[in-house]
Amino acid sequence: MRNITKAFPGILANDNISFDLRKGEVHALLGENGAGKTTLMNILFGIYKPDGGEILIEGDRVSISSPHNALKRGIGMVQQHFTVVPSFTVAENVVLGLKDMGFFVNTKSVESSIKNLGESYGLPVNPKARVWTLSVGEKQRIEILKLLYTGAKVIILDEPTAVLTPQETEVLFRAIRKLVSEGSSVIFISHKLDEVLQISDRVTVLRGGRFVGTEERSSIDRRSLVRMMVGRDVLLDFEKSTKEPGTTVLEVEDLTVKNDKNLEAVKSLSLNIRSGEILGIAGVAGNGQRELAEAIYGLRKPVHGTIRLNSKTLRHTDVAQRIRAGVAFVPQDRRALATCPSLSITENMFMKNAHTKYIPQSPFNVDFRAMQKATERLVSEYSISTPSTKTQARFLSGGNLQKLVLARELSTKPTVIIAEHPTRGLDVGAMEFVYKSLLAHKDRGAAILLLAGELYEIFRLSDRVAVMYEGQIMGYTPPDPKYTEEIGFMMAGSKQEEIA
């Protein structure tokens, strides 16, 4: 790809970027969130057309007009959001859209060839299974197999390890190496330095839409990569106060919660968090963390169990009660759950005001002016970049939206904070801000439940680390990186006592 430029209204996503891929290599595309990696690959995969520049395949100029076109040329992409039809079987998903299959679906032969394909790459799947029953890791395997089935030679993986356990990541890496040894090429988009160092042959770094450099694996190290990514040495370590936590604020006892598929996602789980303490829950996404957070916040009704706040039992689906008692929730899926896209920033900021009473209001005469002033104050305090407080929330970038949610939740000085992947989608500066805020609230005496996927984040912030697997807590460790392997085993299902 040469001199690729792509602009969207208000953002120059790709500015004159050049990138090349050799046959049989694993080439990592590294950069912070918003650096332009996904956009560049979307161009390669035919989702976007570049404003400037050209793409050459084996020396010939090509124009990739659509994903279909890209697939025909042997380029396939596994995106962060899976595009599978949940109610179809694996086989049906793979077969969907293939042109040379004939009128009738020959299930038997398709199923057996999928099975064989999966086994040969170490990505076993059951072709008869319906996709909605599968785990995220298995869904990802289907995505990859779909591409292999159509004969893709260039495979783009967009942040594939975000949803995998360390062990599953190993399986994926083995599969990648096998693919590459047979002549395919893999582009590996990531913002995780360690993995990039582990798997790639070459690394290209993007920053702010611009091309920074391409290096061979042998000539780089962690520090140099960080410098390329961020432009400066960033110290992501800072002091955590070691104040003694106070009394128990949040108690969860014997909690069982079902997920959307009516299976138990949280099984008889108990935990406590004290005032001034951050409990970090490590675990691969999909092991019940979301259901746990939702149940504690009152969005999901548990099958049984008790949740107590300062010794007062909380009624199961009474969100209003919790808001009044000072429970704040920063959910992972902020667009879907915590914000209203067509409403203004002010309205989003004070969505919960009826219960938080941050600005006292009468129900019959809502004082928008007061809300607006307060919003302006919070916008500047949290550095939310927006043209005005009247702008609709949908126009905020992911990072700014997250800051909006944080501003709203933290400004009420809550007693309990449930934070689910709070720094997802944020750039380094914003991440620092979030860490500092959470730690400040911890000092203030809040009890914080942190659910995060990145171990380094959990280590940095937590006072205690718990590992969750299939709805249960496997064990607790101190927040020290030397426990990583133990945590990895727990994340994959071993109970703490079993680990040698």
């Binding site: 969207f8 129900p363 970038s397």
Partner: protein, 371 residues
Amino acid sequence: MKLRIEKRLAVPRYSSILVPILSVAAALLLMGIILLIFFYGRLGTLSLAFKETFEAYKEMLTWPFANRYGIFSTLMRMVPLAFVGLGLSFAYRMKIWNIGGEGQLYMGALAATWGALYLFKDVTSPVLMILLISVLGAAAGGIWALIPALMKAFAKTDEIVVTLMLNYVAIFWVDYLVYGPWKDPKGYGFPGTAPFPQQARFPTLFGGEFHIGFFLAVVLAFILFYVYRRTRWGMNSRIVGDNAQAARYSGISIIKYTIIALVVSGAIAGLGGAVQMMGVQHRLQHGFSPGYGYTAIIVAWLAKLNPIAILLVAFLFGGLLVGNDQLQMFYKLPMALISVFQGLVLFSLLGGEAIAKYRLRVSREEAVTNE
């Protein structure tokens, strides 16, 4: 070069007003063409057809507004459209699609008749009578909407079909009463109930054509405007309508809001039915509503659920209906043609809205916020 249709990032202010006007203009143009074809078929020569079309056109557009009788007819048509439209807007704000305006209107009329002729027939004071009947009508409409409300709140049943079905049930119920137990013995076979007593009729102004229901509609519009803009209900219902999940997250009870939305929406429509009885009909008859409940859906949608705009749009549509009546009566145009007109108007409006929201772009893509 490829042509693509893509969404605008922000809808410019002026287009909210300009586009509906342009769409209506386009619709009128289409109607004119159809009229032309029709008259050509009837009269035989193009020049005669042109002349007739022009006359009919002029009549249809100006008569409802240009003379006293016309204006009053328009205003009187406006009232039920406004009531139902306002009622529907209450639910539509939360994306609850109450299609049952017609049925709720009928139920309000039914209840009003029951009150005027039976339940309250011994009440002598007009003020008290009107008040009682209004409350009864609103209650009937509200109860009628309670059925889909409960079904939606607790069983997540789709309200579109339930409210639609209930329309027919209401209409047939009225038929049953009108042809059966409530039939006016002195009616000489005319399908209707006995007339309302004097105290159950609205006082009129300007020589009898204009009843005070108009003012009720206006007052209601302003009340709703205030409620939507400056009360907690207004803000919370906006949240529910924009993102129901976020509303739950904010501690808003979706069940409570769903039920209230539908019931109030039905109650306002029911009130409209009672008003129609007290102000215009003075007796319950088969088919007294020429589809007000359905036209009101369009009125509400066109006015973008803004109560003041609903008044305006209801007025314009009232004029359209009156104009259509004129065409039917004096130019002997069939009802079906009117139906075609309404369909065309609707499509023009839809097309106009699409143009406002989207634009034709040449080979470029749209922004996606990166995460």
